[in-house]
Symmetry: none
Subunit: 237 residues, 4 copies
């Protein structure tokens, strides 16, 4: 029998992670590479965590700065505004997402196996980069209306285009799988979103633990992929 310690029983329960901001006493993030060259990365990491925890609107730049053990000035030295910081977080999340499924997508395997590779990589990625993914997801579903900076819409459009491109990689595999008889779902768009939703789901309940191993994560990912495949009506599980 397998146990899954890292699963917290929540669709609901507030996620309590080691990242949690406790307004006053806080252990700043620590980085192996503290060189200035790495500074913008540190800012992004801190921002991603804050945005995950409180959302974009609910996060203060002071919160982010406190996460770094620094002051707002450091943030503004690298990013011109809060929204630009958000864009950078979003961009990095997207880049990571593409990179994760690239290899699987480029493989010459039949649709079912190709899907498994991509889905597994994506599911693992969601856990490995939870803060960035939460921030990304949040920003996708929220209008940030106060953001009137010139070019904001253009940036969002480009970003939505990227998103679409990402989905299309899965869409293509699903179509091929249906054509080859490997999958038996009904409506493509619904199946697509359902599958991605399953693979994404851990960002809302996964919580890393001190004693956790890579194997634990792999097992969770594997189980999610199993369910996704079954949901698609995969003929050979």
């Amino acid at each position: 029998m397998t146990t899954y310690p890292p699963v917290c029983f929540c669709w609901v329960s507030l996620v309590k992670t080691k990242f949690r901001t406790d307004a006053n006493k806080l252990v700043p993030l620590t980085f192996a590479d503290k060189s200035p060259r790495n500074a913008p990365q540190q800012v992004l990491d801190a921002a991603a965590i804050c945005f995950m925890e409180k959302g974009y609107a609910g996060s203060t730049l002071d919160d982010v700065a406190r996460h770094m053990g620094a002051t707002k000035g450091r943030i503004y030295h690298y990013f011109n505004s809060k929204s630009e910081l958000m864009h950078a977080v979003r961009k990095r999340a997207m880049d990571i997402n593409f990179a994760a499924i690239r290899d699987g997508f480029d493989s010459n395997l039949p649709p079912a196996q190709k899907f498994r590779l991509m889905a597994d990589a994506h599911a693992l990625n969601m856990m490995a980069e939870q803060p960035y993914q939460r921030a990304l997801f949040d920003s996708l579903h929220t209008h940030m209306t106060r953001d009137k900076a010139a070019g904001h819409d253009a940036i969002m459009d480009e970003f939505i285009g990227d998103r679409r491109a990402f989905e299309d990689m899965f869409r293509e595999v699903l179509e091929q799988g249906k054509a080859s008889g490997a999958f038996r779902f009904k409506t493509l768009s619904i199946a697509l979103h359902t599958v991605i939703t399953i693979l994404n789901s851990s960002i809302y309940w996964y919580s890393p633990r001190p004693d956790e191993t890579d194997k634990d994560r792999r097992q969770i990912a594997s189980e999610l992929v199993d369910m996704a495949q079954r949901a698609l009506g995969a003929t050979t599980p």
Copy 2:
């Protein structure tokens, strides 16, 4: 062949609903029952829509008031604070959720059929009450730290307990189904969250259309429930 117009191709794309706030010119919500008795309900509806669109922290009480074609005074007449308003929205969403699956849960059907009834009702409910459900979901995953009102934690705890109770209704059915051989999933908690996630998923991509019928929604729900059942490894689809 069936077509599903209301599905928008997004995990990603910003949801464009008829509710969208357009900062300046805005068609206030209209209610059949404009009696004072109904007033608090109007406030809740407007709040739910705003919270859905911009999140709790991103919404202004002026936004909410504007949605009603009124000013903040009306809100404060019925709710003592912004967070109390959020609590009320949350509570209503929870009440609706319980009511929706009640009948299915109380039926004496075998687990698979019982699940189908509950799941279908829940999936339809997500579409019917999208603003409330989005607001609920959002508040579940976001710390609202600035909310220092006394008793806030107690309220949240009670609310989290409710949430757990809701999940437990599905959990029970899943356990019974596994015991009876109707379902063949691996880890209960993961299967539970995955299934709920599937049923919830439409809140992020569903967008009602002018010419949409109830039948359209029922078909979407049905397809989602199909996938959920398959994901559970249902033996008799």
Copy 3:
């Protein structure tokens, strides 16, 4: 013999007026009409004085608020931003300026007398509305580059157009005067600006005194107009 007490001997000396902001202890402006209807006017008056004293960039909205014995909120209740407040001050100054010379300009007198009427009214106006005129003048010669609000340039263009229209009223009289032989200046544009400069000059050295009478101001104005007329080479002084 006439004495001119209100004249302070400065091109240079910092103007010390009863308006001076003394950061901490300050007598707020008092208004005969304290009705809310008059509130925006009070804000404008306070702003004009602050802008006169410290310039636009050097004035804090807290300064302005302190002048009113209020807080920034009051300002933002009536004006959306600091720059919009400045625009309002500017507009009011311009309106006053036009109103002041209107009657003289519309009269059917010969150029020299018409000029005298207009110039006298303008010179008196400069003293009566010193804060507004200083704020106006300052804003004319300073780029407020940080002001990126949409439409800023359009507003400034309109305003510059108004300014031009104001000058043109004097320009017309000067041209007519030259044609009729009443004036004997050389270059129109230089004469025009010189004359307006003379009439404006008091905004930088005039300082009202407690015991001052209208007659005092009229004498100053009269003397300035005399010099302006002579500068124009008026044939009949």
Copy 4:
């Protein structure tokens, strides 16, 4: 007939000079003498231009640095603070002003001719050193209250004394001219300020042109001096 291209028709219009800061793309000042010995002078020149364009409070040290094609470090290498930089600009402007009228004042000519010499030199000086003069003028009429550096008031007092001394040189000539019958003005202080205002006026509307010659400037100056003399009621023009 003479034309005066460099005159722009403004009491009002925003001055558009070759100096204008265009936030991003900017041609830094160029100096014939780029030796370190000349460095402080470059800083002063850049500062004068910025202060002219945006005022002291509205100018950033980054603006000044950008004008030099350098960073703030260079400024701080030569000046201890922003206000010290302003003082230096002011001082240089004053020194130039004294130097300009010195010869005329020391001459042994009768009052009218002596005035003409001084006035002409001053008027030319205003055009030649427009940025310094604008910065000076601005600082004379603006309280820079945030400037709490110790000794600030002492410095300003000394500076105001200098200003007074400068005015007194003209005052003396005017008095002598009135006594001798060469001038026929009414009140000394008003005449004095009016005349200086006339001579200064070009700093707000003069704008150098590429094809401009020294002769052009001399004509403008001459015309201004003519008007000043007539304003004084000079008996022999």
